[in-house]
Subunit: 96 residues, 2 copies
DNA sequence: TGAGTATTTGTCCTTTTTGCCAAATAGCCC
DNA sequence: GGGCTATTTGGCAAAAAGGACAAATACTCA
């Protein structure tokens, strides 16, 4: 398979996006940076789970974190990922 | 979590994309429709595995199949998914 | 230093994904 | 129908992902 490394890299980024909670987080961070507690409250699951989701997104290079006092403020790095949402919804329309 | 259903749907489509082999297949089908044997030869893994990858992409609404004689010809339905590649590579550049 | 808040990490368990092999199915041609 | 080719499906094992709880870490403020 040609360019196998590139496909593996791209798949890892897409995999980082491919979870409902993480898509929600990305959407929220696009509106404004937020800390872990705020996101935890919005999603309504264990904070440790949210923290791991954030770690996955950060590791993929999609979001970044800044420490402010004893909080971690997460922000969206690449708003271009939101364009993916549009394409996906276009697929949905075509199906209906 | 607001819009939970929509995020679940979007995650399912992204998950369907999030595999190196499936990204390769999408890329190839964008160039031209192909049958299972052709893709199997290009990727170099078991045909049953390719068939399952195709089934995942088809189920997600990303590709479609047409039967021609005793072959299945797969084609890309939404070329917009290729724009995702661009965004992902943009993330990579920002990291380097 | 010690209490308190915010976040991350370790561990365990369950579910999902991936890939191979073998078997089943579908369609063509004789 | 029978052989042939193309594709899909069943079953299994290994690997990865997801989530909860508890414990650890980090930082602030008194």
């Amino acid at each position: 398979m040609i360019d196998s490394e590139r496909y593996t890299y791209m798949a890892s980024v897409l995999k980082a996006m491919a979870h409902p909670t993480r898509l929600f987080i990305v959407d929220e961070l696009d509106k404004a940076p937020k800390n872990v507690s705020e996101l935890t409250e919005m999603v309504g699951i264990d904070m440790s789970t949210i923290s791991r989701h954030l770690s996955i997104l950060k590791h993929a290079g999609i979001i970044a974190a800044t420490k402010s006092n004893n909080q971690m403020i997460y922000r969206l790095l690449c708003p271009c990922v939101l364009d993916m949402y549009k394409c996906v919804l276009q697929i949905k329309e075509q199906e209906d």
